[in-house]
């Protein structure tokens, strides 16, 4: 799975919860939750979406690493390998 595939999957998972998000409008290195209106239930569902798409386990202790789009893609890429 290429980083591009992962990025597309991540955006898809986010849009699944927040359909109003425009992929092009996301700044990849800025905190995601300052750009997208996600409450804690939404955020949990986004992470469940990552888990289901990529088949990786994401411990709660790692949530803090999932800040920006870039950080999420890097985290998942390391897990998928």
């Amino acid at each position: 799975m290429t980083p591009q595939d992962i990025r597309a999957g991540v955006i898809d998972a986010i849009r699944n919860i927040a359909p109003e998000v425009e992929a092009d409008a996301l700044v990849a290195d800025r905190p995601l939750r300052s750009q997208v209106d996600l409450d804690s239930m939404d955020w949990l569902n986004v992470i469940v979406g990552f888990h289901e798409r990529f088949g990786v386990d994401i411990p709660e202790a790692d949530y803090a690493k999932l800040t920006s789009l870039d950080a999420i893609v890097a985290y998942l890429a390391a897990k998928v390998e």
Partner: protein, 370 residues
Amino acid sequence: MIEFKLPSLGSDMDDGKLIAWHVRPGDAVKKGQVIAVVDTSKAAIDIECWHDGVVHELITELGQTIPVGTVMARLLAPGEAAPVGAAPTSRQRVSPAARQRAAELGLDLAHVVGTGPQGAIGLEDVERAAAPAPKPAASAVSAASTPADRAAEMRKSIAAAMGRSKREIPHYYLSETVPMGRALEWLRTANAQRPVTTRLLPAVLLLKAVALAVRDCPEMNGLFVDGAFTPAAAAHIGVAISLRQGGLAAPALHDAGSKGLDELMRDLADLVKRCRAGSLRSSEMSDPTITVTNLGDQGVESVFGVIYPPQVALVGFGRVTERPWAEAGRVTVMPALTASLSADHRVSDGHRGALFLARLRDLLQRPEEL
């Protein structure tokens, strides 16, 4: 014969537009079965039937907007025989003016829904029935249900309910700082052993604690109707859920006090999902007995809410922040949140409200018992 009426959809919704029947005459229906879908300013709501029986006659037509309490259908009770040859409207009261107008229009009164006393058909009902009804296909979007119109309608509904609340309910407000160190640590340990799909959110602990705290303070949980308060037997917690297109709804988590945390989490996730998708059930809209609003995710420290009539209390939770915490002569850092209570002074006093918040705080110090 059972008259099936459009149930209350919450105090801020007075009418709804029928967009689907899920049953036909002759179908057997069970208590709790969804038999129709009604569109409101907030969402399309699945209307549940509260009787076992057999559908005898569907009265409301697709596209018709009807007030709460309108007879939508007639059902035969289990074992009841269909009336022989009797037109369902044979005993229908009709005003002379309405009868004359219906005759002029060539309108069959059997198809007119009466909204007068005891379902009597008045002139207005005839005029309304004669007006061409929109023909909504399942996916059709009528002029009144564009997103902008829906948002405007929802604003009106919220304005009506909140205006009524502030006119009628003498609110009093209390707040309490709740240390959350133990609860969050317990949650962290519990979630570490769980796959992401079954993890719990702090909100679940808060909701469960509210549901248990009202057991000791029943005057926070119930409805104030016709000048009198009736405490509720169970805590059906209305959860304020913001909608992506703007506005909010506060559907009920039924009997939250008797549910385990896992069940409550599943129900909450399901409720939020369906609320956002615009697919709620009539019972969820009509029977919350106390509301909880959690604005902590949006980053505010505290929220003092407006009670949703005819309820008598609203509990608000703000953001968890680390605060300097003095205890037993020492200062430490403690994650804490501000819990607030807006309550109806016709029903309770500040003293009881204070006991409620103290109980809530205590419950959240023993998360393993929630």
